[in-house]
Amino acid sequence: MSDSRTEADGGGARPAPPEVAALTDGEWHRLHPATPLLKGGIALVAVLVILFNNAREYVVELFVPGGRRGDEGDPFGYVVEQGWLGWLLLAAFAVIAVFVGGAWLSWTMNTFRVGDDVVEVRSGIVFRTNRRARLDRIQGINIQRPLLARVFGAAKLEVNQAGQDANVNLAYLRSASADDLRREILRRAGGAQQQHAPVAAEGATADGTAGTTAASALDGPPTPGRPDARAPHRPGFGGLVEQRANEFLAPELDPDEAPPQSVVELSPGRLIGSTVLSGYTLFLVAVVVAIAISVITTGEWFLLFVLLPAVLGSGGFYVNRITKSLRYTIAGTRDGVRIGYGLFSTSNETLPPGRIHSVKVSQPLLWRPFGWWDVKINRASRSSTKGAAGQENTTILPVGDEEDVRRVLELVLPELVGVAAVGVAAEEARAGSTAPAVAPETVASETAPTPVPDAAAHAPVPGAAVHASTPHDSATDAAAPPAVRDAVEATTEHTLSLVEGGLRSSGTDGGFTVSPRRAAVLRWFSWRRNGFRSAPGALLLRKGAIWRQLVIVPLPRVQSVGLVQGPLRRRLRLATVHLHTVQGPIVAEIGALDQDDALGFFTTASREAVVAARADRTHRWSEETP
């Protein structure tokens, strides 16, 4: 398999880069040579600087005699006076030698290999560790490039597995080969039988104008290609520097891999605005007001001096949040959703299909006038790294308007988008409205023989739609006949209506079943909005009138379903339904439902979850279905 990969690369495209072919040949390999320096070397340098700082006065005195003040408590001075300077230097050199030797040894002992089914890492000098991760259980692959590592052209590759501390870290790899290695691992994990066709062509055909302009705007050179490693290799130091500079400036999204344009443009203005309008700002304002009041009423100024530095220090918090979220990108690749962010230290993660356990779209109160939302997810793995804006890396959209939310949901829940239209259409048809509602269904069935991968998604069977659709709507868009394109557009419109239904509506709009009037005792403002809806492929929970949110749980990811009723709710004939998913920022529960509705929801959810889980094939997402 590994042999054929190096040569046959589909349709005369460029061969796989030799270094990646070498990395995935199933043999043991070492990491980037600069790894020891990047991992621990910086600490060593810092210690040396501190040591030198202490000795500075003595060093100065060597050249400028008599400039030193006599201070008694200085340990360095004591050492010099005792005449132990030589020994001290010897000890320092010994320590450094041990450090360097240890780092070098640890680098030689730290090896990895990528097989057909597993990725395996060996590390440790005294206590050896051997970690092996099954490829079909990968929850995501994250490539991080801290600022310093970027200078060295290195990147950290983290293979996320379900569970606490279950990730496989490859730190550090050559920056250029990290992207290729990720693609290769994902290809094998997906279970695709042959090499994927190169996407460069696909991206070009997809939507000609938008694709190329975006690509060229990002790349600089007019041809969309890799600007870094593939560039003609100039020998010598100058070439190396140029290559580094190119890598440093290269777009975060590898243009070879994905259609390079991000589906969401996050403007700096919106980012700054959303950060400023966070709950932290409210807290800060409260503190400032409290200081002002205390100063005015008591006439004492000491509180000002105590608290003002803290307030000023929070400026760093804002700057940090904003720089981390800058250059946010999200795009669909064939191996899942790819999310990147970061201005100086960048991070870029690919989440394969079916690795998102629930999605929450929510709106902080202050964002409401602007119509902004954020999107969070639950995932089975715990990454060691922080995500955008320094939050847990469960935030996949830091801020965006409804249109952005819809695009992101299209990426992360393609199955829902594919079938939601049918669901909405069917409902509208039932409600009596005719003309626009039936359109997508009929068009889809007319063009069913056309080999469109999305066709499966239009089938009204909930199970079948779960896995088949790919996130490449744009690609099929251009290739397919106009009728299908219309159908896709119609689908998109209906999805929009579904999202709107979940985001802003209340009552039974959008097909939601809501709490009865008597629930107003428990849900003072939101009882009209508090509701659930079962869409094919997912369950939707709509909550909150002031802090609005919409929770979407993909059916194949539901672990179990719970129904709870306490004494108070018993009196009110209300009940709560829990959809248990893996741990994360989202708790998918909907309370204060009529007990018969709750029972019905519990029954259908538990039944549909079983059906969906059985039909789910996302653990080998590229494999042909038997």
């Binding site: 672990q559 179990s560 719970g562 129904l563 306490g566 039944r607």
Partner: protein
């Protein structure tokens, strides 16, 4: 008032003997808490006695309701999932698909073991699932465990 219940569910009850471990657990806890309040008596205030009295009364009420609570525990092996019901005042019903079970524990505490019972515990990828069937006769528990493992194997699903 009509109770919230799953329609046409055939609940399998746990062993009535399971009342004893529950009862002993509550009584011991109550006794320890009551004993902990006893030093307050040295203050000589009337309310210190009241606290102890409240602890004792609560323990007795909870203990008195134990048989009903044990009777309310029920489970059912449906075609594709395990259904578990618990609680009188706080009713909780959970449906766990067989394919979602990651592992099954059999736990036997000292009292439970003396009565020839076992507790079965199911773990899924979601911490909130936390499903336990207490007080199953030991032989049944083994058989149930094997059966559930077999079912989980035949319906294996990813995460």
């Amino acid at each position: 008032m009509d109770r919230l219940d799953i329609p046409d569910a055939q609940w399998t009850r746990v062993s009535p003997k399971y009342v004893w471990p529950e009862l002993i657990g509550y009584l011991v806890t109550g006794l320890i808490v009551a004993a902990a309040t006893a030093p307050l008596w040295l203050l000589g205030q009337w309310w210190t006695y009241a606290i102890t009295a409240v602890v004792v009364v609560v323990t007795i009420v909870v203990a008195a309701l134990t048989p009903r609570r044990v009777r309310a525990i029920g489970y059912q092996l449906r075609e594709d999932d395990l259904l578990l019901r618990k609680g009188i005042l706080f009713l909780r019903v959970v449906a766990v698909p067989y394919g979602r079970m990651q592992l099954i524990d059999i736990n036997r505490g000292p009292v439970v073991r003396a009565l020839g019972l076992s507790d079965l515990k199911f773990v899924t990828a979601a911490a909130a699932s936390a499903v336990t069937i207490p007080g199953v006769p030991a032989d049944d528990a083994e058989r149930l465990r094997d059966r559930l493992v077999e079912l989980a194997e035949s319906r294996r699903a990813g995460l």
